[in-house]
């Protein structure tokens, strides 16, 4: 306390300076969402339903499909055990078909691996990767990263085959920060012992939240008896409930603080956690961020003035025309002069080539002789050896 008292003033000044410098930079111009389910098989139906319901929500709030990366390791809609083929529901009332007819899954089935996930975040992909499967963010992008699956202390299992560690995740985020690939990140994770997954993060401007503490399980909300399995997890269910009842459209002014305050142990049956300390401005600033800053696609648009700019634009147009014409003329002139030059050069070259042809001989004299000598020496050596050995063998007989 004392320390903070002593350093209060300079820190405040510094903060004011930083704030004035970064206030304008805080604005984001695009929203991205990375929605990852990591488990396959029918009994994990609820994990896919979790991800798909978040997918529906961010889409409803305006993030286009090209800016949503959806990872689904299994295809519940086409699973033979699905009593409602072609559909996925996250609620027993089966009111909303999450699969629908307008869905873009970017990574499917065995493409959902730890490696691909880290490649996606760090954008270390080959040229063959289409733009729709890449996270093309920049320093003005807000990213929502939502993950769900089976996890444990500091790991999240991918497809029963491998797992991503909290350290790997933290390093991936750090690489993103180093390359200025995000403005702010909201990291959400719904799995057992989820809060351990964000405990190792160390890059700035990340708000992290998880469903359960160390040694706590994350529970499912309810099952659908006709589908036969649980259809959604509690944490995701109550997030969705908030988003659907409170954040009806992009003009909503609800903040992340409101969202986080809605988590209670009674509802979720585990202690949901939030981590603010990485965020610039700490808890206070983080809690003031709008929900739509991460779940929606809201930009500061610039409305144009009236029609009086037309004259200016037309002038600009005619100007451009003449300048382009001038450029073209200049280029032609240049090309003509270059042509002359190249013609001359070509003539020269022809002469040179002819000269070369006349003086034709092996390109590398010395090497040629050296090689000859080496070959000769090798043959001679072998012969000598053979002769010597036969001589030595001779007297013995």
């Amino acid at each position: 306390m004392k320390l903070s008292g002593v350093f209060g003033l300079p820190a405040l000044l510094g903060a004011a300076l930083v704030a004035s410098a970064s206030l304008a930079g805080a604005e984001h111009t695009s929203n991205w969402a990375v929605l990852v389910c990591t488990s396959r098989f029918w009994f994990n139906y609820r994990h896919l339903a979790n991800v798909l319901s978040i997918y529906r929500t961010v889409k409803r709030l305006g993030i286009p499909d090209s800016q949503i990366i959806l990872m689904l390791p299994d295809d519940m809609a086409c699973n033979p055990r699905n009593a409602f083929p072609g559909t996925v529901y996250s609620n027993a009332d089966r009111a909303v078909d999450l699969y629908g007819d307008n869905i873009e899954v970017d990574y499917r089935g065995y493409e959902v691996t730890v490696e691909n996930f880290i490649r996606l975040l760090t954008d270390r992909v080959g040229d063959e990767m289409p733009r729709s499967k890449r996270l093309l963010t920049d320093d003005r992008s807000n990213i929502l990263v939502y993950m769900t699956g089976h996890g444990g202390n500091e790991f999240l299992k991918f497809q029963d085959a491998e797992e991503i560690g909290a350290f790997d995740l933290a390093d991936a985020f750090e690489q993103m920060w180093e390359k200025k690939r995000y403005n702010e990140i909201l990291f959400m994770i719904d799995t057992c012992q989820a809060n351990t997954m964000y405990s190792k993060l160390y890059s700035p401007n990340i708000i992290a939240t998880g469903s359960s503490e160390l040694d706590q399980s994350s529970y499912s909300h309810h099952a659908d008896n006709d589908i036969g399995v649980a259809v959604i997890d509690r944490y995701t269910y109550y997030n969705l409930e908030f988003l659907e009842t409170e954040v009806r459209d992009t003009s909503s002014k609800k903040t992340l603080g409101d969202l986080f305050d809605s988590y209670t142990f009674e509802k979720i049956h585990s202690h949901a956690g939030v981590r603010y300390d990485l965020f610039r401005g700490g808890a206070e600033a983080a809690r003031k961020r709008l929900v739509t800053d991460f779940f929606g696609n809201v930009q500061n648009v610039e409305v144009d003035g009236a029609k009086n700019i037309t004259a200016l634009e037309e002038e600009l147009l005619s100007l451009s025309r003449t300048i382009a014409a001038l450029h073209r003329k200049a280029d032609e002139q240049e090309a003509a002069s270059q042509k002359n030059a190249t013609e001359k050069a070509e003539e020269n070259r022809v002469v040179v080539v002819q000269k070369k042809a006349q003086l034709a001989k092996p390109l590398t004299d010395e090497n040629w002789w050296a090689k000859k000598a080496l070959g000769l020496a090798a043959v001679a050596g072998c012969t000598l050896l053979w002769g010597l050995s036969s001589y030595l063998e001779g007297p013995g007989r």
Binding site: A24, T29, D65, E178, L319
Partner: protein, 561 residues
């Protein structure tokens, strides 16, 4: 345990017959029969002893000379040598001081050589007094009069000032070339001895105001990157910084190619066709041509009928505008090629915008007509076109207004400065972009260096080192030629190489292995192998020491005798 018990001869014979049942007879022997007196095995032959030592030695040799190097070689992560310090220097701005020496030539055909030189000297003085930003030099030079006759503007200089005698002191830009015409009354010419002149001051002031925006932009770029403060100008007023940051928010990141998507969305069945090709050719192509030294453009178009916007209100508020785009249903991201897309959307419907456009225009014109379009930063433009309901075809004439709006928005999306004549703005844009690219490539180098230091277990293939050296070579060239057209080309290559080096595909893997992990992998494998190896070595050493002691005793005994 039982094996080690001494056996009598009979039991040993039985053992020979059935070596699998070694333990059972031994046990019965020790239990049932009284143990005979302890009988030592015959002494080992010295050759056997030596052979055993050789065997153990050879095992250890194989392990140490073959096993260890192979293990080391196959498990080390290849990390190419990167010039880390140099890379960090680039990122910190120590390797290159971004300096823009802009050459401005003065054409004064009406003046004597002497007079012109004098004026030039005075103007240069006045300029240097005004300039507080060392990174941005304006250097004046006298254009040879002969050259001025056949060409208006020579390519080495950024701007040509044409001094012409006239009635009053005026300045005007030539709209077609980077030429500033200044007229002066003859009496304002400085005398050869005077140390100041109103004309010189006037010219200097004109030049300064011409390049003020460029200076501000570049110094803003430098200040947002981590360039040491002594290279920066001090006075960047908050409102200038504010407008600059707004502009950088709006403009797209530099890419050599942009993809332009023109979309016509209609709320009903009509209009269903448009003369977009012709309209683009007429109203946009000239500007694209002018921009061609800096950017390439690819274009596609689409028409979609019965499109529902994200907001259905008749009158759109400012909040509605940002959610007007129906991202879920409008196919706006074609994912064609690798270029970033700029969207230009014409929406034919009857919705209107109910926002007072901006403060200034509302003030100036009183009742401003309702705006039709809005710009979405780094994304593109939406234009609302209200049409009579039976229009089936949009002629290029009807598209004139939208396309002119798109054109001016395209310029602001590419980060074009707003003041000055068009040729000058273009060259300024090229310089700003090269500075931007230079800084971005440098900061990428710094990121890569910090990453290499921070993640010791990440592999760094030689292609990365290659890319880094290429980047630095081009950065050096770009730094030297900053302000000239080659500068942009070099900066472009440097940035592309830096990106490729940073995003090297093979620099991924599960990076982090905790120590428990390593133990868990190695112990089951190496433990059983290591135990006999180490025990054998220890036994051998013990035996060797014992032999030495005995030998010493024997020697002593001999001496005593």
């Amino acid at each position: 345990m039982t094996i080690q018990q001494p056996l009598d001869k009979g039991a040993a014979a039985a053992d020979l017959q059935n070596s699998a049942a070694v333990a059972a007879p031994a046990a019965t022997t020790s239990n049932g029969l009284p143990l005979p007196a302890r009988k030592e095995p015959p002494p080992e032959k010295p050759s056997d002893v030596r052979r055993r030592s050789y065997i153990i030695l050879s095992f250890w040799l194989i392990v140490l000379c073959l096993g260890l190097p192979i293990w080391w070689k196959t498990t080390t992560i290849y990390r190419a040598d990167l010039p880390l310090q140099e890379m960090l220097d680039w990122a910190d701005g120590k390797a290159c001081r971004p300096v823009f020496p802009l050459r401005i030539s003065i054409q004064a055909n009406a003046l004597q050589e002497q007079e012109a030189q004098n004026l030039l000297r005075l103007t240069q003085h006045a300029l240097d007094d005004l300039n507080d930003f060392s990174g941005h030099h304006l250097r004046l030079q006298l254009a040879p009069p002969a050259a001025s006759e056949n060409r208006d503007h020579d390519h080495d200089s950024v701007l040509t000032i044409r001094l012409l005698p006239g009635e009053t002191t005026t300045a005007s830009f030539d709209p077609h070339a980077p030429v500033l015409d200044i007229t002066y009354p003859p009496n304002t010419l400085p005398s050869p001895t005077s140390s100041s002149s109103s004309l010189a001051t006037y010219v200097a002031g004109q030049l300064r105001s011409t390049f003020a925006e460029e200076q501000a932009t570049i110094s803003y770029l430098l200040s947002t990157n981590s360039i040491p403060s002594e290279h920066r100008p001090q006075g960047l007023s908050p409102d200038v910084a504010d407008s600059l940051s707004k502009r950088t928010t709006r403009s797209l990141k530099y890419a050599p190619t942009y993809h332009l998507t023109f979309s016509l969305f209609t709320s009903g069945p009509l209009p269903s066709s448009w003369d977009i090709e012709d309209a683009i050719h007429q109203y946009m192509k000239p500007v694209l041509d002018v921009l061609s030294p800096i950017h390439n453009f690819t274009i596609d178009t689409q028409v979609q009928l019965y499109a529902t916007p994200g907001v259905q209100n008749q009158v759109l508020n400012k909040e509605d505008l940002s959610s007007f785009i129906n991202a879920a249903e409008w196919p706006l991201s074609p994912s064609i090629g690798g270029a970033p897309t700029i969207n230009f959307v014409v929406f034919a419907g009857n919705q209107t915008i109910a926002v007072p456009p901006t403060q200034d225009s509302a003030d100036s014109s009183g009742t401003a007509p309702a705006p039709h379009s809005w710009l979405i930063p780094q994304w593109g433009t939406v234009y609302l076109l209200s049409l009579p309901s039976d229009t089936a075809h949009l002629s290029s004439e009807a598209l004139k207004q939208p396309l002119l709006t798109f054109t001016s928005h395209l310029l602001s999306l590419t980060g074009m400065p707003q003041s000055g004549s068009l040729p000058l703005r273009l060259s300024t844009l090229a310089r700003i972009r090269s500075a931007d690219l230079l800084l971005r490539a440098s900061s990428t180098l710094g990121s890569l260096a910090r990453l290499a230091l921070a993640l010791p277990s990440i592999s760094i293939p030689s292609s990365v080192a290659d890319g880094v050296s290429k980047t630095m070579a081009h950065l050096r060239l770009a730094c030297e030629t900053l302000g000239r057209p080659e500068g942009l080309a070099h900066a472009r290559v440097a940035e592309a190489e830096a990106e490729r080096a940073f995003f090297e595909k093979s620099m991924v893997g599960q990076l982090y292995f905790p120590d428990e992990h390593k133990i868990a992998v190695y112990l089951p494998l190496l433990g059983p192998v290591a135990v006999p190896l180490v025990m054998g070595l220890l036994n051998e050493l013990k035996a060797w020491r014992k032999r030495r002691r005995e030998a010493a005793e024997v020697a002593q005994g001999k001496k005593k005798e």
